[in-house]
Symmetry: C2
Subunit: 227 residues, 2 copies
């Protein structure tokens, strides 16, 4: 229930370490989507036995990054337009809920921290205009904080532990874009304002629109690649 990547992400056990490495490799595409994973091979590659590797694989399955078929084997997921839509449908609902809850559950101090994070994003964004840093880390970190602010453990687990890496995988491997960055920042700011004003309904609505826009963006990107 408590992993909270990007923040405290120290591997305490061997299976943790392997999990983080494989997770990262899959998200970044070093391990190609759709490829098969052989347990003995990966166990050798990461210098562990099959036991911790299998535990890591079990957790990767939880993140929807791999798929197991009994007695057959493990495959990295394949990214599809349908999968992207299904994923974002859920994000809209759950992150909308997260905003509504955060508007009542986040203490002032946490809201202030989030505002500071946004300011920091702004400066980083201006410096490295066009780079993918913002979209890859910053955008997701904002969402991350809002979700944590909901204080709903199941919601946090689902979004931050189970769906987070798959979302990143889609964004990284679909290739990230430029022009939406500044607009996304404004949308984040509006959402934060709604939360600060304790207006859960508005924050919910804005977040749904924000995610919907992001989905349309990726869908366009995807359709452009298809030509």
């Amino acid at each position: 229930m408590t992993e909270h990547p990007n923040l405290m992400r120290q591997a305490i056990t061997a299976s943790d370490r392997v999990l983080f490495e494989i997770q990262r490799a899959i998200v970044e595409g070093s391990i190609p989507a759709g490829s098969k994973i052989s347990e003995p091979e990966f166990a050798r590659r990461f210098n562990v036995s099959r036991a911790p590797l299998r535990e890591a694989l079990a957790r990767l399955e939880r993140c929807h990054l791999i798929e197991r078929t009994p007695n057959a084997g493990v495959r990295v997921v394949t990214l599809t337009p349908e999968g992207l839509i299904s994923l974002y449908q859920i994000r809209e609902e759950l992150e909308g809920l997260a905003c509504r809850l955060a508007a009542t559950q986040m203490p002032q101090a946490e809201i202030a921290e989030l505002a500071a994070l946004l300011d920091q994003h702004l400066s980083t964004q201006r410096v490295r205009e066009g780079e993918s840093y913002y979209q890859e880390a910053g955008d997701l970190d904002f969402h991350y904080r809002v979700i944590l602010g909901s204080k709903n453990p199941y919601l946090i687990n689902m979004l931050c532990d189970e769906l987070y890496y798959l979302v990143r995988m889609y964004r990284v491997q679909m290739g990230m874009n430029g022009p939406r960055v500044s607009r996304a920042f404004d949308e984040h700011k509006a959402i934060l304002n709604a939360i600060a004003n304790r207006d859960g309904e508005l924050a919910d609505l804005l977040m749904r629109r924000h995610i919907s826009a992001s989905r349309h963006n990726i869908e366009q990107q995807l359709q452009a690649e298809r030509t």
Copy 2:
């Protein structure tokens, strides 16, 4: 991604079998909430080695039925009012979404099957009025079918594999009640009608109300026990 309990639930491997047994025992309370699970002890009890047991435990953690603390051990979750509220908040959103999707994604044949299921529930309900059969299996099976009808694999996984058993655990261990049964049946029928009419918005709204009412019901039950 494809377990689909209650329907095709045949244990293909040893860890499957152990998973089902422990899952059932936890939901029914045979293994008390909050109790610690010793891996060697349970391995002996179910006549398996620790390897398949650990895999079963990993999957139980996915269902939020147990909690692991590194290097410490495994404990069955404890049921709390806060946990119940958090759980139902998510159910409202996700099952609402499921209804909206089902209204456009369910083929006519599947809707007809669901209608038949409801009729069957009606007869069973009239025969064994007051028994808990309806609430425990029938009600959840209706929800189950609607979720499957959404055709969204992540949604199906989350609700049917990850949250389903925890919901059942709350309902079973909080003790199930009588008077809401017939009202719940009418609500199911209304939801089905909305789906059959391809009115996703209405189905969404009705499902949210239905789950909200169910939550209030359990909360009352819980508050009544506290006196």
